[in-house]
C-alpha cells in the first residue's frame, strides 16, 4: 500500500496526460478540470459487498419495473402508491415516451446508484442516476495506472478484478441489440465526459459516433461507415433526452439524430438508457423507491433510503418546518450537487425564507436527515486526513442485472463539506471489492 501512496503524483500526471477530466458549468461558463485522484483505495469487504450487490440488484429491478409501469399501464398510480402528480409534474416524465416498449422491456441499462456508508455500518442510497450516469471510466483507468505503478500491490491483496466493465457494457448492448452494430453516441469532444465516451467505446468494441455520423431512414438508424451505411442495433447514447431527436424533443438541437425516436418506437434500435428515465430518478420520486420494491417485488428493501420527508404530505411538512435547522433541503429540479441547502448553515432570517419557499411550493422540495457517514482517509501533503466520501455503484441490466465489482468513490476535498459531487470540485479514489479469502 505504501508503494501506491508514493505514486500519487505519478498517477495524477498520467491521468492528466490521458485527458481524464470532467467539465463543469459555473456562473454560465464552461470549465474543464482535472479530477484529482487519491491513492488510498476504499476497501469493501466481501460479505458487505454481497449485501450491497443484492440490494442494488433489487433496487434497479424495481426501478425498471416502475418505468415500464409509468410508460405503460400505470398500475402503481391507480393503486395509490404514488400520487399521480409526482409523476406527471416531474420534468423527467416525457409524454413522448408513452406506450413505447423498449427491447426486452429494459429502461435503465446502466444505472449509477449513489450511496454512503453510515457510521452505523448501514449503506444509504442518496440518489439513483438512471439517465446517463457517468464516471465508470475513472476508477477503470486509475486501477490500470496503479497496477502499472505498483503491480505487487495487486498481487498481495485480494482485490476483485474490475477490468470487465467494457465486457459488461458490450454484453448489455449485445443483449438488447435489435440487429446491427453497437454505437456509443457522443455529443462531441467538447462534452464534459468525451474522454469517457471514447474510452468506453474502445473498451466495449462499440463504434464512437457523433450526430453527423448517424441518420434514420425508413425507421432504421444507420451509421455512415466509410463505404455503405451500416445498420445500428443498439445505441448507448451520451446525449441527454432533450437533445436526442430534434423532431421529437428540443427542435433546435444540433447534436441529436432526427427521427431517432421514430426508429426506437418502431422497435428497430435499442436506446441505452431509455429516454424518459428521469421520471424514476427525480428527487421527489426517490422517496417512493422503497415502496416500489414492496409493490412490484413484494420484498423488503435491502438498501435504505436516507430518511426523507416530503413537504407535500401535511405531516412531513409539519416535521420539516419544525426541524428545518437540522435538515438538508433539496430542490428536486436541480442536479449535480446544486440546490442542496443545509439548514444548519443558515441564519434565522435565511431559514425563514427557506421555510416560506417550501410552503409556497411543497412539491418542489424534499427534506432529509443529515446522515452521519463514515469518513475515509485521503493522502494529503504526506499525511492521512479524513474526508467525507460517497460511492457510485454501477449496475448493468441486460438479460440479467449485474453489479460491476468496483465503483467510483468520490470525496470532498473541503473538510467541512458534505457534498462530494464531482461538479463541486471533489476528488476520487479507486474502490476495491475484496475477495472472500
Amino acid at each position: 500500500m505504501q508503494d501506491l501512496l508514493m505514486h500519487k503524483d505519478q498517477v495524477n500526471e498520467q491521468l492528466a496526460r490521458y485527458g481524464v477530466k470532467f467539465g463543469i458549468y459555473k456562473d454560465g461558463k464552461f470549465n474543464e478540470r482535472l479530477f484529482p485522484f487519491d491513492p488510498i483505495p476504499r476497501q469493501i469487504e466481501s460479505r458487505d459487498y454481497e449485501i450491497l450487490e443484492k440490494g442494488l440488484r433489487q433496487r434497479v429491478t424495481a426501478l425498471n419495473l416502475f418505468l415500464a409501469d409509468i410508460y405503460g399501464r400505470k398500475r402503481i398510480l391507480r393503486d395509490g402508491i404514488i400520487p399521480e402528480e409526482f409523476v406527471f409534474r416531474s420534468p423527467g416524465y416525457l409524454a413522448e415516451c408513452e406506450g413505447i416498449t423498449p427491447p426486452k422491456g429494459i429502461y435503465s441499462h446502466i444505472s449509477g446508484i449513489d450511496l454512503v456508508l453510515g457510521k452505523d455500518g448501514i449503506w444509504y442510497v442518496l440518489e439513483d442516476n438512471l439517465r446517463i450516469p457517468s464516471g465508470a471510466s475513472y476508477p477503470l483507468i486509475a486501477r490500470r495506472l496503479c497496477r502499472n505503478c505498483s503491480p505487487r500491490t495487486f498481487r498481495s491483496n485480494n482485490v476483485r478484478d474490475n477490468r470487465n466493465y467494457g465486457a459488461l457494457l458490450k454484453q448489455v448492448m449485445d443483449e438488447v441489440n435489435t440487429g446491427g452494430i453497437n454505437v456509443i453516441f457522443t455529443p462531441g469532444r467538447y462534452n464534459a465526459a468525451y474522454f469517457e465516451h471514447s474510452y468506453l467505446a474502445e473498451q466495449s468494441g462499440a463504434v464512437l459516433a457523433e450526430s453527423a455520423d448517424l441518420f434514420v431512414e425508413q425507421g432504421v438508424l444507420y451509421y455512415k461507415a466509410s463505404r455503405d451505411p451500416v445498420k445500428v442495433g443498439a445505441v448507448y447514447r451520451r446525449v441527454s433526452d432533450e437533445y436526442l431527436d430534434p423532431l421529437c424533443f428540443e427542435p433546435s438541437s444540433l447534436i441529436g439524430v432526427p427521427n431517432l425516436m421514430d426508429a426506437y418506437r418502431a422497435g428497430n434500435v435499442a436506446v441505452l438508457n431509455a429516454p424518459g428515465n428521469g421520471v424514476a430518478d427525480d428527487k421527489g420520486i426517490y422517496y417512493f423507491v422503497p415502496k416500489m420494491i414492496a409493490y412490484y417485488l413484494e420484498e423488503e428493501p435491502i438498501l435504505h433510503n436516507a430518511p426523507t420527508f416530503l413537504p407535500y404530505f401535511p405531516e412531513d411538512m409539519a416535521y420539516t418546518m419544525e426541524h428545518i435547522g437540522e435538515l438538508v433541503i433539496k430542490d428536486v429540479a436541480e442536479a449535480g450537487g446544486y440546490g442542496v441547502i443545509f439548514g444548519e448553515n443558515l441564519s434565522p432570517a435565511e431559514l425563514e425564507k427557506l421555510k416560506e419557499a417550501v410552503r409556497r411550493e411543497p412539491r418542489r422540495f424534499i427534506a432529509q436527515t443529515v446522515i452521519d457517514f463514515q469518513d475515509l482517509p485521503i493522502w494529503e501533503d504526506g499525511t492521512q486526513v479524513m474526508r467525507k466520501a460517497d460511492l457510485r455503484a454501477f449496475v448493468l441490466t441486460g438479460d440479467k442485472v449485474r453489479v460491476w465489482p468496483s465503483g467510483l468513490t468520490r470525496f470532498s476535498r473541503n473538510p467541512d463539506s458534505f457534498v462530494v459531487n464531482s461538479s463541486q470540485g471533489g476528488g476520487f479514489k479507486d474502490t476495491w471489492i475484496m475477495t472472500s479469502r
Partner: protein, 258 residues
C-alpha cells in the same frame, strides 16, 4: 355521424438547395374510435421519397422521411374521406398528462388571476363553454402576431394571437380549473388554412371547443393530430443542412360528402 371529404396540400420551398433533410409529418387524419378513415391518398414530392409510417405516443399517425440529396422543395398532398361520430359509446384514448401543464401551456400568475375572476361554475363542459366564450371576447385574432413558439402566457399577456394561441390559453386555463384537456390541429369545414382548437375530457369523452371561432368543434371538424400543446403534434417538422430560408404554402378544403 357525419361523412366529410377533405383535401390538404402543403408546399415547403427553400431559397437555396438543402441536403440531409429529415422530416416528420402528421398530415393524415387521426385514426380513432370517433373518427374513421374511409379513404386516403397521400402524395409526396420529391417523388420516390420513401415514407415510414408510425404512430406517436398520442396515437397520431406519423410519416417520416429522409432526403439526403440536394433539393429545393418538399410538398405533400392528402385527400380522402372520413366518418366522424362523436356519439359512439366506446371509451376513447386518454393520458393523465393531459391534466397537467405542458411546456407551452404553463399558466402565468396573471392567468391564474383571470381564471379566478371568471368564477367558472357547473360541469366541465359548462365551464369550458364559458371559458371559450370569455377568451373569444378577450383575445383579438391577428394573423402573424405570434410565432409557433409563443407560449400561452406570452400570448395572454399581449392579448392577441392566432388559433394556436387561443387553443393554448384555453388549455392552460382549463387544466388550471381541473379539467383535463388536449390540443388538436386539423381541418374544419370550409376552405383555407389548417386550424387548431382544444378538447376537454368529461365522463370518458372528448368534447371539442374552438375558442377562436367561439363554437363547438363538432363533427364538422377533422382531427389530424392531438397532443398536450402544439409542440407535441405539429403537422410538419423538419431539419436539414443548408442556409436556406424556408417558406410554406398550405391549403385545405373540407366539404360534406354527398
Amino acid at each position: 355521424m357525419r361523412e366529410l371529404n377533405f383535401q390538404f396540400s402543403c408546399q415547403l420551398s427553400f431559397s437555396e438547395s438543402v441536403t440531409d433533410h429529415a422530416f416528420l409529418l402528421r398530415c393524415l387524419p387521426r385514426q380513432a374510435r370517433e373518427q374513421e378513415i374511409l379513404s386516403l391518398n397521400l402524395q409526396v414530392v420529391p417523388e420516390g421519397v420513401q415514407l415510414f409510417s408510425g404512430r406517436d405516443s398520442f396515437g397520431n399517425q406519423t410519416m417520416s422521411g429522409w432526403v439526403p440529396e440536394e433539393h429545393r422543395d418538399l410538398s405533400y398532398q392528402v385527400s380522402g374521406a372520413i366518418c366522424r361520430d362523436d356519439m359512439q359509446e366506446e371509451a376513447p384514448e386518454y393520458l393523465p398528462c393531459f391534466a397537467y401543464p405542458s411546456a407551452m401551456t404553463k399558466p402565468s400568475p396573471e392567468m391564474s388571476g383571470y381564471l379566478q375572476e371568471l368564477e367558472l361554475t357547473g360541469s366541465p363542459s359548462q365551464k369550458a363553454q364559458a371559458l371559450a366564450e370569455a377568451l373569444h371576447e378577450r383575445l383579438e385574432y391577428v394573423p402573424g402576431s405570434t410565432s409557433i413558439y409563443t407560449t400561452a402566457a406570452e400570448a395572454f399577456r399581449q392579448g392577441i394571437g392566432v388559433c394556436q394561441d387561443f387553443a393554448h390559453i384555453f388549455l392552460a386555463l382549463a387544466r388550471l380549473a381541473g379539467i383535463p384537456a388536449r390540443y388538436v390541429c386539423g381541418l374544419p369545414m370550409g376552405e383555407g388554412a389548417t386550424h387548431a382548437w382544444a378538447e376537454i375530457w368529461q365522463d370518458g369523452h372528448w368534447l371539442g371547443y374552438d375558442p377562436t371561432r367561439n363554437r363547438l368543434a363538432d363533427e364538422t371538424y377533422i382531427t389530424l393530430a392531438v397532443g398536450r400543446d402544439y409542440g407535441d403534434c405539429p403537422i410538419e417538422r423538419g431539419v436539414f443542412h443548408g442556409t436556406a430560408l424556408q417558406t410554406q404554402q398550405a391549403f385545405m378544403q373540407v366539404w360534406e360528402k354527398e
